[in-house]
Amino acid sequence: MIAEIGRFLIALALLACVAQTFLSWRGADQGGRSGAARAGAAAAEIAVVAAGFAFLLLIISFVRSDFSIAYVATNSHVDKPLLYKISGTWGGHEGSMLLWCWILVLFGLGLARIGPRDPALRARAVSFQGLLSSLFFAFLAFASNPFERILPAPIQGADLNPILQDPLLAIHPPMLYVGYVGLSAAFAIAAAGLMQKSGGRELAAALRPWALGAWISLTGGIALGAWWAYYELGWGGWWFWDPVENASFMPWLLGAALVHSAIATEKRGAFPGWTVFLALIAYILSILGAFLVRSGVLTSVHAFALDPERGMWILGMLGVSAVAGFALFALRAGSLGEGDGFEPTSREAFIGVNNLLLAVTAGVVLIGTLYPLFVDLMGWPMISVGPPYFDASATPLLIVAAALMPVAAFLPWANGGAKPGLKQMRAAFLLVPVAGAIIAFIAFGAPVLAVVAGGVGAWALCGAAMDVGVHWRAAKARAARFSVMGRALAHAGVGFIALGAAADASRPPDINRALAPGESLVIAGHTLTLEGVRRADGQNYMADRATIRVDGRAAVSPERRYYPGADQTTREVGLRSDWRGDLYVSVGEARLREDGEMVYELRAAYHPLVWMLGFGAFLVVAGGGLALTGRLMSGAPARVRGRSDAPAEAAAPSEAAEARA
């Protein structure tokens, strides 16, 4: 009965979303304070409760191993540890789609409760969010229902893919979905603003916190995914320009552009059309990502292998969202108004250039991701677009964007003045550590792009440090200080990521060798000695655990696991980390060597400064969190005026100073 109640709750949530769409629309027409608007909000509440309980029932079904539910039967096993029984709920397509839908309606409820201040705009945004939710709930209810039954029920499940049985994978998808789906709130506000003919500033102010929150979560989700890939997949990579990685990276790039563009729009009225366009396209790319991951059009360790029919559903949703969004944009963009104008050396100009770079990078990634599909569609010989393309096209653009990033914080709004900005930044002084980093990378024999990225990373770090040094004192209010610290931390995070990526690109070659117990290999000056291999079976897997002594002292213990339920083998790497980097060892198959010794395939690698990648991502998330907190604390955004508006600044000096910061 649990399964059928779950199915009913999904149907109820679908209908609630439809009701939300129409009632909120009517409510917006009536000014946003009528009973219809409140009923629209109530519909959002019903959808949240229904979808939440459906999700809870699905978790219960996993915990109880109810294999009469097809989704449970294909993604769980009685012997699976409880944590992975629970995380298995969102480990496959149908369950993760339910989670996606639940987050969608949570954002819908969020918009209804703490959305734009203008009640009509809020109700309209709730209506658009209801429309987006209805599309996804219809897909869930009729094409991807997690409560689909299988009768007679198998006595045992097929188990969750073992590489997904990892603590990080329990939290990575929810974070990623909050990011993807959170962008829907920005979409809904943008579309609602266009419908209501709201001004650009008002719209930017309304959508910025939502975009920032979603982008923070997307950053965290992507970072956790990269970390998982690094230690779980056994080959030591953290980013491979995999189509599914790209599917999350494109909205991230546009989300980053949106977060910054919205600042310029909110404070100076600059790029109103661009900001709204970014809000629309960022979410549309999120749906494109869902299509790539869930349609079965591409193969990836991250992808759900599914049938094209479901892909058509998602394409349909993509089409409806894109047509609705862009048609509104085409018809109503003129209502967004014009900014106050700015000089080429102003802060908004630099934000604009960085926006352009981020958007072009997203375009380059989009082309590289979709081109193989296009080739396949045309019936041409199959090709794959891999790291060489992205390294040659996207990476240089990102390096230029990172190089410009620290400067903008020192430039004044509107009337420009790069020279005083760079002087305030003490740019010449900062070039010393940058040169040091470049020399160090050259000394370690790094490739050219890594040397440049290393220099840019050092530049970004120094710029962030100087940003705090210069602007902290100017920011008197707590909210402004949060904003300054948030920006500096996020920019420092980018610097750390650039440094970490540059260092990892300069690492020594990996070593693959078969060792018998007692034998050693040397990598990056460390001697790894295989002491032995013993059985270390777990609750639902069998494992060979190698004990490898590093320089005769501490040991790492990589494992090779076999999951009988899923009939799959995985590698659990052994890591030894310190501030200089990671020693990374994985153990492969055993075989009998010609001399009769039993040997084990070992893969050893050294990843210098790889911790900087994770730390950088943490700083970006933390910085974004502080900036969001500051934004929420400050309440109404301060409008910044140019020099010609000096009297207004004189009237409210503290507010203007904080806003400048």
Partner: protein, 313 residues
Amino acid sequence: MIIFTLVCMTIGAAAAIWLARPLLQESGAARLIGIAAGAFLALGALGAYFVNGMPDAPGAPYQPRMEALRAADPETLTPAEQEAWLRDAVRRDPRDIEARRLLGRFLAATQRELEAIAHFEQAIRVSPQARLFNDLGQTIVTLNEGVVTPEAQRAFTTAHAEDPAMPEPAFFLGAAAYEAGDRAAAAAFWGGIITRLDEDDPYREAIASRAADLLSRPSMGGADPAALTEGAERPDVEAMIDGMIARLETRLEADPADISGWLTLARARMMQDDPAGAADALARGRAALPGDPAARALISALGAAFGLEETDA
């Protein structure tokens, strides 16, 4: 079904009221819209549910199903249910050697040797019994496509030491010795089993037949001379067999206790289409090994395989 319907109606009604409430507080058309919206929500949800819903389909959580299986007659269980039954028994009592052994054997029989080996090893940790070592060894052999690997040999050696009367370890140890080219050791292992088993034990005949077949094969790198010379001129093969027979006769004259030699001689005679010569070779072997029941069993098995009458030398 009734409970399910009641639950759904309650949920639907509560949701409808919650949705309509703000509109019902207003007047005129808004109230009508509220009522319509509530009805749309509740009835629409039921309609959407019934597109694919199966209100009569029962749930099948694992624990209640296992309780029912435990109460059922094992004879009536399907293979999948038997496996689930055994897994459940092992899960409830990891020290239940018998359940674990049966599960291991079930898994081995269904080509899941790796998991079977893990279960046998865990059972051995609890209680190192000969039959568990034997099961372990046999599963390793199956996994390695019939080759008695060093790990399998270790398991069989332990099993044989624990229980010398158990036929399987001795048979596989004999096979390992045979693979290593030590026919005397192989004959000793196989002969040992044959003498220990009762005359009417079906294993005795099976082992004797297999042992006789292997021990009678000419020792030419383990391959049949006819197969080795496939495609070659026929006179070469015959000359080869003649030469082999001459060498065997010389060897058996020096060592009449070489049972493998007598069996090979009989086989070689059969290859020459000489059943009388083969029967004579077996009779001479029987005469040369009068007090060795194992040898006599092997000779009888080979004679039976060739369809020869037992004769005196």
